[in-house]
């Protein structure tokens, strides 16, 4: 990456991570499901946008930054060191894996193949969301192992709780990102390899 491209990369990742946090902070932009965290919000979208624009590296970085920023700003809930690391260090970072299909999504959009475009877009968002879900699922199990009495079906609790907001968030993200890239193709295509 040459120097000016590199600077633009750093800034875009930074600003979109900020945007993710903003979408997570503004009350009327999310649908609260549970008392502690776990709301359906649009916050993953900026991370996915960066992942499709700049590929996996940008996506991972942007997700990581989004996670760290929640800790720094004080909206994170860290209950054990391991849970904190998984839920804020890892869970948001893996959203960036969506970027593995960056090239396919860009090509499809440029060639106006909407079927291919939506397939790869949905696949990427799904993989990112699913990995994040796995991270929260595992953190929930680790957390419950520490705090709940033995003999509880912790996997079931954690799956239901985390699935209840991750599934709608995945659908929401796919729709909004698809809409954005179709209506404003330059938001995806202005970065050339």
């Amino acid at each position: 990456m040459n120097n000016s491209r590199r600077t633009l990369f750093l800034i875009e990742v930074a600003i979109f991570s900020a945007l993710a946090l903003v979408l997570d902070l503004i009350p009327f932009l999310k649908f609260q499901l549970w008392a502690q965290g776990g709301s359906v919000s649009f916050a993953m979208i900026p991370v996915f946008i960066i992942a499709y624009r700049w590929g996996v590296k940008g996506g991972l970085l942007s997700g990581f930054l989004f996670g760290i920023m929640q800790v720094v700003v004080g909206t994170a809930y860290i209950l054990t060191p391991l849970q904190g690391f998984i839920e804020y260090g890892l869970a948001f970072t893996v959203l960036g894996v969506a970027g593995i299909f960056a090239k396919q999504v860009k090509d499809a959009l440029e060639a106006k193949q909407s079927g291919k475009f939506f397939t790869y877009l949905t696949l990427g968002v799904f993989i990112g969301s699913f990995l994040r879900f796995l991270a929260h699922l595992y953190a929930g199990v680790v957390f419950f192992a520490e705090y709940a009495p033995e003999g509880q079906p912790v996997w079931l609790y954690s799956t239901l709780y985390n699935g209840s907001y991750m599934l709608p968030a995945f659908v929401l993200s796919t729709i909004v990102i698809g809409f954005l890239f179709l209506k404003q193709p330059r938001t995806l295509l202005s970065i050339k390899d």
């Binding site: 800034i11 875009e12 600003i15 009327f28 649908f31 970085l61 760290i68 720094v72």
Partner: protein
Amino acid sequence: MNHALIIGQYVPSNSVIHRLDPRTKIAIIFFFVIFVFFANTLTSYAVLTLFAVGTAVATKIKLPYILKGLTPVWFLIVFTFVLHLVVTKEGEVLFRILSYPIYSGAVEQGIAISLRFFLLILVTSLLTLTTTPIEITDAIETLLNPLKKIKFPVHELALMMSISLRFIPTLMQETEKISKAQASRGVDFRTGPMKDRIQAIVPLLVPLFVSAFKRAEELAMAMEARGYQGGEGRTKLRELRIEKIDILAFITFGIVLIGLFLTRA
């Protein structure tokens, strides 16, 4: 400091805790979070509680502010407590609720685990209550410095965090501006079924993203023009320094840890 720039939990004040170096606070909290798990007697919990509550008092932040940060976890604290009451069957039967036996071991474990929970949340939220996000960023940058040896981009990460923090208020204002512009045309974001609300929000997000790209491009260009070349040889506006109060804080925490190990079984 501009009021609009205060984001998150931070409550400005001039208390001892506010004046501590952010690295001191992060280090102490890090070890506190680990050592909480070592407490296993009533007195050892009392030592840790005394430290946590004492620190909270020393911040001079009013109680409602501190409790506000804890609201979302009250549910979890109560939930784990009740779960233990119902499921744990150790010790003697203390009493019965509607012929359901409650064991002494259940009460003990329930209290211990809820208290541990409470201490962790209290202490970690004290960090963000007394430290500005930018201070935490500076602290993270210096604490991660050793990672530069393995080519981890510490400087870039810190730069991105500062830029992120700088843009959060700007982006919030922008979101508000666009949402007001839409609301004046009759869009309703806050009420109605979820499907309608989502349909209202999408036209808000698109211009928000587009303008974020524009801002990024302008900032990158401005940095270029001023000769930004990356981390090498850059100096800092805010320098962190370990002062006497930091050493005092470490000594106090050391005494607490000694107290913890003397009182645990």
